[in-house]
Symmetry: C2
Subunit: 487 residues, 2 copies
Amino acid sequence: MIMDTLFQALFAPRSIAFIGASTNVFKWGFNILHHIIRGGYAGGIYPVNPQGGEWFGRQVYTSLDRIDGPIDLAVIVVKDSLVPDAVRACAARGIPAGIVITAGFSETGASGAALEREIVTLAGEAGMRLVGPNTMGIFSATPSPLQVLMTGMAIAPGQVSIITQSGNLGTSLAYRFVRRSIGLSRLISSGNEADLKVEDYLRLMEHDPQTRVICLYIEGLRDGQRFFETARRIAPDKPIVLLKGGRTASGARAAASHTGAMASDEGVFAAMCRQAGIIMVSTMDEMIDVTGMLLTQPLPKGNRIGIVTMGGGWGVIATDACEAQGLSVPPLEDAIIARLDAILPAYWSRGNPIDLVAPGTVTVITDTVKILMESRSVDAILLMGLGYMTLRARRMMSSEVIPAERIESSAAILIREEEKLIGLLLDLLARKTIPIVPVIDLMGFDAPADINITKALDRQGIMAYPCPEPAVAALAKIAAYQRRGAW
Amino acid sequence: MIMDTLFQALFAPRSIAFIGASTNVFKWGFNILHHIIRGGYAGGIYPVNPQGGEWFGRQVYTSLDRIDGPIDLAVIVVKDSLVPDAVRACAARGIPAGIVITAGFSETGASGAALEREIVTLAGEAGMRLVGPNTMGIFSATPSPLQVLMTGMAIAPGQVSIITQSGNLGTSLAYRFVRRSIGLSRLISSGNEADLKVEDYLRLMEHDPQTRVICLYIEGLRDGQRFFETARRIAPDKPIVLLKGGRTASGARAAASHTGAMASDEGVFAAMCRQAGIIMVSTMDEMIDVTGMLLTQPLPKGNRIGIVTMGGGWGVIATDACEAQGLSVPPLEDAIIARLDAILPAYWSRGNPIDLVAPGTVTVITDTVKILMESRSVDAILLMGLGYMTLRARRMMSSEVIPAERIESSAAILIREEEKLIGLLLDLLARKTIPIVPVIDLMGFDAPADINITKALDRQGIMAYPCPEPAVAALAKIAAYQRRGAW
C-alpha cells in the first residue's frame, strides 16, 4: 500500500466502522466511540455489535455486511479472542486500515504473541494495515476532527504531531499541549507495533502539510537504520523532538518489560540522533517547552542571550541557567550601552543582564527590548517580570480596608499600562527578527493577572515560560538545531 | 542587642511606626502600609508623615514625637535623602529595629554607599538594628500576621521560613509556596545587608519554634565562617534548603552587579554546604519540591524506590529519573511478588516498576502500595496515575451527544470510587512509615479532576507532583539529607 492511501485511511477516512460498540459506560466500546462522535468527526460512523440495537439513538450494525458504502478505517475494541474474527471480516470487506485498541497480545506472553501473529497475518494477506494492538488510539485534526482515543479531551487543531510508544505518555503529552494552548495535527499511540511501527508513522508525517513539528516518545526501534534515514531527511524542514524512555540501565529494564524494547547503547542512540538532526529532550515538559518555542519564535542565529529583568535576582539565576546550558550572556557593545543610558536611570548596571528594577513607564521596558534587538552582541532576548501590574491592580481592588472608589481609577491606570505594554511587546514579537522569550513568573498562579498577559500571548501564538530555566533550556536546544543548518 | 529582643522587634512587634505613609496608590508608602493593615496585623500601627492628615480613616502622625506608648519596629519608606533623618528620629525614640525599604544606597554607587554608612552609624550608636536598605520587606505569620511587603498576597501561616538576598526571588518563592498550599512562618528580604546580614537572620531562625524548614537564596556571604557554623548547628534539626545565585562565572558577574557579592569558589561553597548538612537545590521550583516533601513525608531510610504506575511509559521515565538521580529501582523480593500475584492479573510484569495497567478496582492500587510498604527492598514509593477517574466522569457528564440522565449514575460511581481511593490512600499516608509520593499528572490542568485529589491531599498537608522527575529529584535530596544523620 502506498503511504498516501494509508495516510488517508488513518487521518482522513471517509467513514469508520467501530467494531465492539457498547452502551456500557465503563467499556472502551462506549468511551472511544463517544470520543469520536463528540470530537466532531464528520464522516460516516458505523457502530458494530452482533447484538444490534442502538447506541444512544444511532443504529448499531450486527455485522460489517450490513453496512453500505465504503469503509476506510476500522476501530476494533472487541475482547482479545474475538479480534482475529474482526480482522478477518475487515480484510474480507477490503478495509485498508484498522486500529486494534484491544490489549492481551504479545505484551501478556506467548499465547498473546501467537494471537498477535495471527492478526498480522490475516491483515497482511489482504493488504490491510494495523495500528496496535494494545494502543491508546489516534487523533487527527484535519480534514475532520477524529478522536479515536481512550481519554477524550478538547484538543485544538494545530501543527504538532505526536508519535508515542506509550499510550499514557501520549495522553499526558496531549494534556500538556492542550494546557499550554498548543494545537495538534496528529497523534498516534503505536501500541505493540505488530504491523505499523514508529518508523512507518514517521514517514507518514514527512509530507503531511499539517505537521510542522514532530514529537516522538521512543523506547526502542525495530528498524533503527530506516528510522534514522527518514529522520535525517525530515529534520531539516520539520524539527523532530524526541524523548527516549529507557536511557538508564534500570529504565531500559523497565522498557523491556513495557514494550519489549531491546536495550540499546544510549551513547550510540544519542549520537545517531545528533547526526540525524533530531532534538533530544529529557522530560515531557521539556518536549512542550521546545516545541512551543519552535512554533512561536524565530531560530536564534547563535548562543548569545540578552536578559531584560525587573529584578536582580531573576537576572542572576537566568544567567546561571544560560551558562549551565552552554549559552553566553555577553557584555553589551558601547553603542548599545549609550542608547540604553538615554532611557535608563543613571545608576543602571551597564551590563547584561539589564536590570530595569521598577521602570517608571512601560515604554522603558519595550524600548530596552527594541534597542537590544538591534545589538550585534545578542542572538535572543529573555524578558522577565511581566504580569505584576495587573496583579497589583486586582489585589488593590479586592481590598477589605479601602473603599473601591478610592482605588479604582488608579487600578485602572495600572491595568491600562499593562495592556499598553502587552500591545507594544506583541508588535516587537511580530517582527520575528530574533527570539524574544517572555518569562512570566506568575504563570499558573491562580490570579487573574497571569491570565491577562498569558492569554494575550496565547492568542498570538507566543509561548511564555513560568521561570527562566525551562526557557533557557529550550533556547539552547533550538540554537543547537539552527547551528546544524536546519530550518 | 540579644537575639530574642531583635526577634521580637522584627517578627512579634507590639506596634509599628510607618514612616513615609502616603495615600498615593502608586507609592510604596501606600502599598506596604496597605499590606500591613490588610494582612491583619493586630498591634498598633502608626502612620507617620510630616503633612499629617489621615490615611483612609486612620490618623497620620506628623512625627514620632506625637506617638504615645512603645514602638517596637519602624518601617521606613521615605526617599533616600530623608532616610538618615528618619533613622535619627527612630534612634532618639529608642526603637530597637527598623526596616529600610527605600532604595538608592550602596547599590547605586559611591554617594549611595556613603548614605548607607551614615544610616548604619546612626542606628549603631543607638543600638538600633536595620533590615535593608533596598529590601522588599519581611513577613511574619505569628503571633499576629505581619506583612511588611511590597507585593501583598494571601500567605497561609506555616512552618517554612525564607531568607533571601533578592526581593523579587523572595516574592516569586512566596507565590510558589502559596500556590502549592504550603504556609510560611517568616520571610526576610535582606536587601543591601548594611547592618543585619543573612548570617544574623539564620541565627534568628535557630530557636524559632514556628520554623521547621529554612529556605535560603544566597548570592554571597559577608561572613562565611559564621554562616556555616550556624548552619551546621541548625541543619540536623531544621533542614536548610539553599539556592545559590551566581554559581557560574557569568552568574557571579551578574550577582556582583546585583548585590555586590564577591565571586566565590563554587566548588568550595558546595563542599561547605555538604559539610554543614545544607540541602542545595538548583532552581526555585526544586526548592518548593524539596521543602514540600520534607514537611509532608517521613525521610526515606535509603535510596531504593518502588514505583507503582497505571501505565508502562510513566514507569519507564520514572525509572530513568531515579537512576539519573542516583536512586535505585531494585527487583522485588519473592515474598512480595507472591503477595502481589494474589491481587494482580496473571500477566503482570513481576518487576519494579509495578504496572497496574487499568486496575479493576481501586483497592488493587492501595493494596499494592500496602504490600510494597512492607517490602524490605524499598525505602520509598512513587505512585503515579491518579486523578483520571474523576476527569473521565466529569468529561462524560458534560457530553453534548448523550443525555446526562443516561450517564450520571455511572459517572457517580467513578467519582465515588476515586473518593474511596483517596480515603484509602490518605490512611496509608497517615502511617508515615516510608514516603509515598503521589504524582498527579493532571495537576495544574484546568479540569476539576485534579482539584478533587490534589485538594484532598492538600487538606492533609501531602504534597503531590505533576510529573515523576521533580518528585524523584526531591526524594534524592531528602534521602541524602537523611544519610547524613539529620532529623
